[in-house]
């Protein structure tokens, strides 16, 4: 028994080393972007040529860049609101609606995971042209609601499912209407998850490239701006500086969303206890 446990630990420590190596593989290429964004050379190559902030300075006073940033922010906030609203209602009705329609909607809402981005992009491109909208910011919002929908549904569904059924039943037994139960009991209990879903949906929209490529009109988003700059070798350092800022913001938002999600689950456990 003792020998067996030692064996387990030895396996565990070998595996631990592997996991460490895996994390290095996962993060190293991405961390090269910040590294070379401070490098005083137009090439991303060793040896490093010395520290500079000049590439960050080129980010200021660039109207094309700030226009793309503003677009990305506005689209991200609207698309994340839409996707979160859909995630809340779809998963709530899936769990408590007791109707085949609600179940079907919830299943279809998670379908975009099984559709490659390029097909989501072209199907919406055909749709927005058909209704006379054409490639535009509204079209991008539609596309990003779709791309973020599986995430918001999954986050909200697991949150609602973690609230003990007795809580909702108690509210209904005490005479609260469906609407009051949802608004005054269930929604406040899942508020951290709502925020978490919103932030993740915003990140998805903010970083999304594959679908937006087909749906953008004359106003590009930030990823499209980066894509357009990649053709010019001279603007590579600027792209790396911009990429560093985007990575930092993504890390902060994703980290906050994760903390919120855990806080939410903790609250659910307290209610059930």
């Amino acid at each position: 028994m003792k020998a067996e446990r030692a064996g387990m630990n030895r396996d565990g420590s070998w595996l631990g080393l592997y996991v460490l190596g895996y994390l290095v593989f996962l993060y190293l290429p991405v961390l090269l972007i910040p590294l070379f964004s401070f490098n005083d050379s137009i090439q991303a190559a060793f040896p490093l040529q010395g520290f500079t902030l000049q590439w960050y300075a080129t980010l200021y006073g660039n109207p094309a860049l700030s226009g793309a940033l503003a677009n990305s922010l506005v689209i991200g906030i609207i698309a994340a609101s839409g996707a979160t609203l859909c995630g809340i209602t779809v998963s709530y009705m899936d769990l408590y609606g007791r109707s085949p329609l609600a179940t079907a909607i919830s299943t279809i809402a998670r379908l975009p995971i099984l559709i490659p981005g390029v097909i989501v992009g072209i199907s919406l491109l055909i749709l927005v042209n058909l209704v006379g909208l054409g490639p535009s910011r509204v079209a991008i919002v539609f596309g990003h609601i779709l791309v973020a929908l599986p995430t918001t549904v999954v986050v909200m569904r697991s949150r609602f499912a973690a609230i003990p059924r007795t809580v909702r039943e108690a509210a209904l037994d005490l005479g609260a209407s469906d609407w009051t139960t949802f608004r005054r009991v269930m929604l406040p209990l899942s508020l951290p998850a709502v925020l978490s879903a919103f932030m993740l949906a915003f990140l998805i929209s903010f970083d999304e490239f594959i679908v937006v490529f087909f749906l953008a009109g004359t106003e590009p988003t930030l990823p499209l701006y980066i894509w357009s700059q990649l053709r010019f070798p001279r603007s590579l350092p600027t792209v790396m500086a911009l990429g560093t800022v985007i990575l930092a913001v993504s890390f902060i938002i994703a980290g906050s969303a994760e903390i919120l999600r855990h806080r939410g689950l903790g609250a659910a456990r307290r209610v059930s206890a």
Binding site: M8, F46, P112, I210
Partner: protein, 294 residues
């Protein structure tokens, strides 16, 4: 009894309004943006390109071209091989990580889970771009190899190869695979493992006969969520793949861009969806064989 029914009546009335409001956003998005939009692709695939939005006539010409032109077989086969290799590489490398998370991580589990999922939330475009600067002719890898004296001059062999596409995609989609496998491993009842060891199974036998089969639903789910986005990818081939790694997604994208033949692009999309449907059905079948718990 009658008072009970009376008390429930107003709730039932408010219920239909409530249901309508709550079902509306999801119904709009799923039926209009997903089902109707996909229906449009299917419709367009059977039309001839006459420059108008929805094409003209009804024909199978697009599909006949796809089937008869060897170019599309080559590209489809290449996409399947690349996506297959990426899926295999991601799942095989992710499995030990998920295993460690489920059985050995202890108090570090939360932090490690966060660390492996964090790249999922960073820009896909930037992750691919990172590989471009790593693999470029005067890029990170070449210059590092020369600096360290391993090679005397830079090589073109890294960038613009199908291998570059496989490595880049495997890296970009690595975080997708860990979570489903981890969930499957984590939900294996501990009593099963104890039973295996009590009945005298050695650790490796217990893994092969108990843990691995029980985690197969997670492995299949992981394979699916990696395979689907990679088989239709067009960004990575464009960034690091070069002309020798054109994938089916690249062809679809160009039909809606430069080539400007939407009905043909729609037909290609329908073919990709059929391939994915086939893969999903195979995965479903395998899932059932392993006795899915999900």
């Amino acid at each position: 009894m009658s008072t009970l029914i009376a008390a429930q009546a107003p709730e039932a009335r408010s219920s239909s309004g409530f249901r309508f409001v709550m079902l509306l956003p999801g119904a709009l998005v799923t039926f209009l943006l997903i089902l109707f939009a996909l229906g449009l692709v299917l419709f367009l695939a059977f039309r001839a390109n006459d420059g108008s939005l929805l094409g003209a006539g009804f024909s199978l010409a697009n599909f006949l071209t796809v089937v008869s032109d060897p170019l599309y077989w080559t590209v489809t086969l290449r996409s399947l091989i690349i996506a297959g290799l990426v899926t295999l590489a991601t799942v095989v490398t992710a499995y030990p990580v998920a295993y460690y998370l489920a059985f050995h991580a202890g108090r570090r589990r939360g932090l490690l889970l966060f660390l492996v999922t964090l790249p999922f939330w960073t820009s896909y475009l930037l992750r691919v771009f990172a590989w471009k600067i790593v693999l470029a002719y005067n890029g990170v890898l070449n210059s590092a190899l020369i600096e360290s004296g391993i090679w005397s001059e830079p090589t073109l062999a890294f960038l613009n190869t199908p291998a570059a596409v496989v490595v880049t995609l495997a890296h970009a989609y690595a975080p997708f695979a860990i979570l489903p496998i981890y969930v499957a491993l984590d939900t294996i009842p501990k009593s099963l493992l104890e039973a295996a060891s009590d009945l005298g199974a050695r650790p490796f036998t217990a893994f092969r006969r108990v843990v691995l089969p029980n985690s197969m639903p997670g492995v299949l789910a992981a394979a699916l969520v990696v395979f689907v986005p990679t088989v239709g990818d067009y960004v990575t081939p464009a960034m690091v793949g070069g002309p020798a790694s054109t994938m089916i997604g690249t062809l679809i994208q160009s039909q809606f861009g430069k080539a400007n033949d939407w009905p043909f692009g729609a037909a290609l999309s329908v073919c990709v969806m059929l391939v994915i449907l086939l893969v999903v059905l195979v995965a479903r079948g395998a899932d059932r064989r392993f006795g899915s718990r999900t």
